[in-house]
Amino acid sequence: MKPEGDRVGRLRGKSGPLRLICMRCGAFWLKSIRAWRLTLDWTVLLYIVLPGLWIAGGMYQDLLRHPPDWIGRLPGQMPVAILAILMVRGRLRTFAEHGDGLFLRASGGWVRMMTKAGLAYTLAARLAVSAAGAGFMLPLMSRATGWSFEEGAALALSAGLMGFVWTLVRDAAERRLQGVRRLLAVYGLRAAFIAGWVPAAAWMMIGDEPLPAATVIGALIVGGAWLGWRRLHRTGTFTQELEAEQRAYGDNVGWVLKETEQAKRPPAGRRPWVLRKPRPLLKRRDEAARIAELWLRAMLRESEWMRLLLQFASLGMAAIWLSPLWLAAIAWLGMCTLLLLWLNGLWGKWETERYMALYDWRRELRSEAREIGRSLILRPVALTWCAILGLHAGWTYGGLWWLEVALLPAAGYLLLSRINRAASSMLAARRAGRGRPDAEESE
């Protein structure tokens, strides 16, 4: 028979706060990995991810073996700024869960121990990320700036500590502020951290003297310890901790679970930032146009969709400007089709939102509204591409070719209407072919 004390010790180990936070941390990463595997199944890994890594690794190796000239021209602040951007993405983790509110939060000892463990995890995570970032950049930068391993390690350490200080400052700001003010504060603080950190780190890296590096690292250690101590003794943090955990999970798996309820993020403010007032945007006021207008409002308020749209529009502009004219014209058509299909898919997803699905949509209304909605986004983007194509023609050939700047958008306008209408007919035919009278495609 084992001694009693041993058994008590084992029981304490089983139910202690440290063990609990370790289990939660493990569960968090397991859950995240399971979510990633929804997208990264073995076929994606085998045919896309692994070849991609192989190619990227080869390119990186090639960069090291035969460094191009531009590497030498890179400013020394660049890796510092990249590390800073990586660092100010983090947040303080405590692995709090809703159920803690029942009993666990009543025990000060448990809460303190779990907070300590959370602080340690956050620090370790920041250091790991900065080490990985610096480790990736250092071989390249050693050629550009002549940095040594010690200098790189000092940069990684100080960046990790700065990241830790950032998480505590961010936590304090998010606890105090809500809505728009919180968002503005976080963005402002981010900018301030990057602006303050880049010159400090650049100063630290000047010359071979260890004093600047020791000063910066020492100051960050003192600052981090003081903020951590304050955070440890702060009460009333539970709600913020739960929200931070939810957002951390959303950040981790958002790209996979973008369409699911658990990864959805509520809007930041109480009121919309975009199109706050319900003033009509379209002259046409029939039911289909009213629905399309509502879709446009939702679309403009969805930052992720807007980001993708702007990226696609910018890439399209670059592709049209950089290609020969004949190829740019073909690219315009291809990109318009792609954009149209993407918008159609977005509409399909929007339409199946639970609130929209509450209502009995007439088939014709659904189809007409979708067509108007698509054109509301397709037109401005595609016509901008047309104008770029016209500019390209004028720039290349000069003279009367400059007229294309006005003529191509006009022709594009007419063509787009036809393309959009043709897409509606095609999608309707597909729907009829599938024999689902109430269903719409969402590809």
Partner: protein, 257 residues
């Protein structure tokens, strides 16, 4: 089924969440103009299943559902989402994150063919009644549960349907809002609309409803007026619905499946 003066009548043969697996059998419901019908039952009895079936949200649904002015043939997958014929007020508010309150109403109006003029006129009164005027340009997803529920009420009343399906109307609303809801429902009944409501609050149900359908373990244990329910439970006059409910569900449990 009785008489021809009805707004909605449903004879549900089988319904469930998986094809061929019925969790609800042989339930008949009729809603007449101006009538409030209470769909009562313990947790898991099948009340929400009935609601979902009537809304066309069940994968397995074998029922004859008829609406006034329409005659639905026997259907396994009815399309019954909200329109001018039917409005649903769910127990848990269903909202869209990127719409303001006003935009929720705009969508409901546009999909259900209500003009903008009528929307403005009708919504003004409803927003005032439920004290939501000040927040009409705010995101309802940021409201309290009670205010979110009021948003759903306004969206439903806006449609002026023939039948209201109201799921647990007293949960999440403050007493003043419950009174407003009941008054608004009374006005709609005066217009000729019918109400089918589910609730656990039997005292309120007894006071509010004209007829009842008591669902227990996926079947109808009793239906009719309070007097009919008392008779079915073998209870004397004046016995509260609560006791009848208790007697009937206990008897059904004793009989077993």
């Amino acid at each position: 089924m009785t008489g021809e003066n009805w707004l909605m009548r449903a004879a549900i043969s089988a319904a469930g969440y998986e094809q061929g697996k019925a969790v609800l059998r042989d339930v008949a419901i009729e809603v007449k103009p101006g009538e409030r019908v209470g769909l009562l039952g313990p947790n898991g009895a099948g009340k929400s299943t009935v609601m979902k079936g009537l809304l066309g949200q069940l994968p397995y649904w074998v029922a004859d559902v008829e609406w006034r002015g329409t005659s639905g043939a026997k259907s396994e997958a009815p399309g019954g989402a909200m329109n001018r014929r039917l409005a649903y007020i769910p127990e848990q508010p269903i909202l869209y994150e990127r719409f303001t309150l006003w935009e929720h109403l705009q969508l409901a109006a546009a999909v259900c063919g209500i003009s903008e003029e009528r929307l403005a006129e009708r919504a003004r009164g409803l927003l005032a009644r439920f004290r939501l005027e000040r927040v009409k340009d705010d995101y309802p997803i940021k409201f309290s549960k009670g205010m979110q529920q009021k948003t759903m009420l306004v969206a439903a009343f806006l449609l002026e349907p023939s039948v209201y399906l109201v799921d647990e109307p007293f949960i999440g609303l403050d007493p003043a809002a419950v009174m407003e809801l009941l008054e608004a429902l009374d006005e709609e009944r005066a217009r000729g609309a019918g109400v089918l409501l589910t609730t656990h609050v039997l005292d309120s149900a007894e006071r509010l409803c004209d007829r009842f359908v008591l669902v227990h373990e996926g079947g109808a244990a009793a239906s009719g007026t309070v007097a009919d329910i008392r008779a079915a439970a073998g209870m004397p006059d004046g016995t509260p619905l609560f006791d009848c409910f208790h007697r009937l569900t206990r008897a059904a449990a004793a009989e077993g499946p």
